[in-house]
Structures are given as C-alpha cells and as structure tokens.
Symmetry: D2
Subunit: 117 residues, 4 copies
C-alpha cells in the first residue's frame, strides 16, 4: 500500500468509527476542501512574500500553515476515495500532460496558458 | 523516496526546466490551490449527490473531477515543498490530533465541532 | 451615491484611518475574498439542504451565514474599488450577457453551460 | 428599491424564466460563489502587484476581472436572497462591528486580528 492508499484507509476507518460516512458525500467533501483551501490562503493574505519566507521555517506560522496543508490533503484524499478516484495516478497523468502542453522550449519564463503558446 | 517526495521532485524539475520558480512563491501557489479547489467545486455544484454517484464512476465527469483532484494535489505538494513543509507528516499528525479531539464515543453520528463536544 | 459607492467610501475611510492601505493590494484582497467564500461554504458543508432551510431563518446559523455574506461583500467591494472597477455596472452587464447566452426557451430546466446549448 | 434588491429581483426573474430554482439551493449557490472566487484569484495568481496595477485599468485583464467580480456578486446576492438575508444590512452591521473591534488607535498599521490586539 502506498502512502495515499494508507491515508485513505485511515480516513475510512476514522469516519466509520464515528458514523460520519453520512456526512462524507462528494459535494460535502468538495465544500470542506474549498473551505480548507480558503483557510490556507487566509493564513498568508496580509503577509508579504518576504515575511512568509522568514516565518514559515518555524514557529507559529509554520504550524498553522502545516495544519492547513494537512486539512486540504486529508479532505482531498477522502474526497477522491469516496469518488473512487486514485489521486496519485491522476496527479502523475496530469504532470505528463502538462509536460506535453508546456514544452520547456516554448514555455520558458512565461506564465502564458498552453492554448496561447 | 515516498510518493509525496517523488511528486515534489518531479514538480521541482518541471518548474526549473521552464524557469517558473519565479512564479512559484508561497502566496501565488496558495492562490493557485484555491483556484483549483474552486474548479473542483464548480464541477459538482449543479449536480445532485445521486447524479454524482451515477456519473463519477466513468466517462466525462470522472475525467474532469480526476483532473481537478490532480490539480489541487499538484499545487498542494508544490506549495508544501516551497515552504519546506512535509505534507504527509502534517497529514498523519493531523489525523492523530483529530482522533484525540473527536473520541468515537463522544463524536458518533454528530458533526459538532470538537470545542462543542 | 448608490449603496455600492457608499460601502466603498466607508471601506476607504476605514482602511485609511488604520493605515491599512498597504495591505489592501489587489492580490491580498482577492485572497481575503476567497478565504471568506471558504468560510461561507464551511458553515453549510455538513448540513443538509433541509437543515439549512429550517435553521437559516433565525438564530445562530443565520447570524454566522449573515456574517460571512457580509465579509464576502465587503472584500468584493473593496477589491473592486482598489482595481477601479464598478461592481454594480459589471453585475448588470453580466446579467444582460447571461440573458443572451441562456435564452429561456433553450435553457429551461437544464444546467448545461451556454457553449453546449 | 435599492440596487441590491433590484439585482435580487432580476436574478429571481432570470431563474424563474429558466426553471432554475431547482438548482439554486443554499449549498449549490455557496459552492458556485466559492467557484467564482476561485476564478477571480486565478486571474491574478501569476501576476505581480505591479503588473496588475498596470493592466487592470483597461484591456483584457480588466474585462476578465470585471466578469469575475460580477459573477461573485451575482451569486452572493442570489444566495442571500434564497436564504432570506439582506446583504447590505449585513455588510453595514459588519463594518460597524469592525470599527469597534479594530479601534484606529490600536489597529493602526498592523494586520493583527482583533482578539490579539
């Protein structure tokens, strides 16, 4: 079992033990994921990039950002599992596709979207 | 190397080859993550839970949802890497903490937040 | 002055009095808006539509949802003002365009996106 | 009727004419709002604040950002209406409360949250 399957199994057991499967529908989990992405963004919104780089190495900001990263990941894994989707496979396929869409020679140094290259 | 470190390494190489590290600041990556979480939610917003369960097993909806899961995961891994955070460690620590905050006996069948249990 | 201009003026004064213009950049305000949209979604994610309809008429849920509606609106108005965009004008133009894209005869009862009608 | 009530009435008529009330539940509308907030953030994520200030005054970026501001506002007004919440009243109450929570003398030049002042 890889780490993703391992997390999915722990989350399945966690939800089952608490009779929470009733709440873990695709829509609810997608909403929870969006909520946590919002919390992650909120931790950084008033800081400058310099302040973030200085503070994210340790201390309070690191803990809070770490927690939000965890929350996003946990809901993402749970969402994918409930939908029968393999998130690792999906991510690897997407990197492959991005490598084709954004050939290094064309895309270098530019954030232009692939359909405008 | 576990799958998370593997994804992080591929994304590091992907960004370096395209001279994209300049765009991959913590704030920009957090914004990209929130944007993709929004795209995931948008795929489901007009569907009922029943329609989602029927359609997410295969076909167009599965592909689009899979792509959004991938996009969220890729930005999450890249964000964590740029901040020097281990997303797997963070997630495992968070499940442990959630198990303490939501003891099965107290939390069973209820979505009440831990500070109200 | 219409209500939107009125809110924008109050928010301008509020930020100036606290020397907060430095934080109110377009990107920061867009992040704050996404964060508040996340908080709104989080208030509803574990509730069923029936529970929401029963509870949103008054009491705690109403107050919390009201607050999140307010937060989203305030950041939206502030963001638009900082970018020199008229949100009311933009919204009215968008409804007009949506009326053309989704002619009632074609769009009735279907959530299909306009480019698939 | 103020501008908010006017927008709400137009959106009510728009939805009724297309038999779309079935889709406009509180959860669906909150999801749509989060999706549009994500689209707004996505328009800005790779740009620097300087690039945004240069480009948002006119041209393509202005149009796209304007459209996203419109989409967020329209879903917010529709969501509030479906929940029986007055968004203008909520926003005015919130500014009042923020003025108490963040007295200018204490809050000047600092983004510290009110419970830490």
């Amino acid at each position: 079992m890889n780490e993703f399957e391992d997390l999915a199994a722990r989350l399945r057991a966690f939800a089952a033990a608490r009779d929470w499967e009733q709440f873990h529908t695709p829509k609810n989990l997608a909403m929870a994921l969006a909520g946590e992405a919002g919390e992650l963004v909120a931790e950084l919104q008033w800081l400058t990039e310099e302040q973030i780089r200085e503070q994210v190495g340790g201390g309070e900001l690191r803990q809070r950002v770490s927690d939000e990263v965890a929350d996003v990941l946990l809901y993402l894994v749970r969402f994918a599992d409930v939908c029968g989707i393999d998130p690792l496979r999906a991510a690897l396929d997407k990197i492959d596709r991005n490598e084709e869409r954004y050939p290094a020679a064309l895309a270098k140094g530019s954030a232009t979207k692939y359909d405008q290259l």
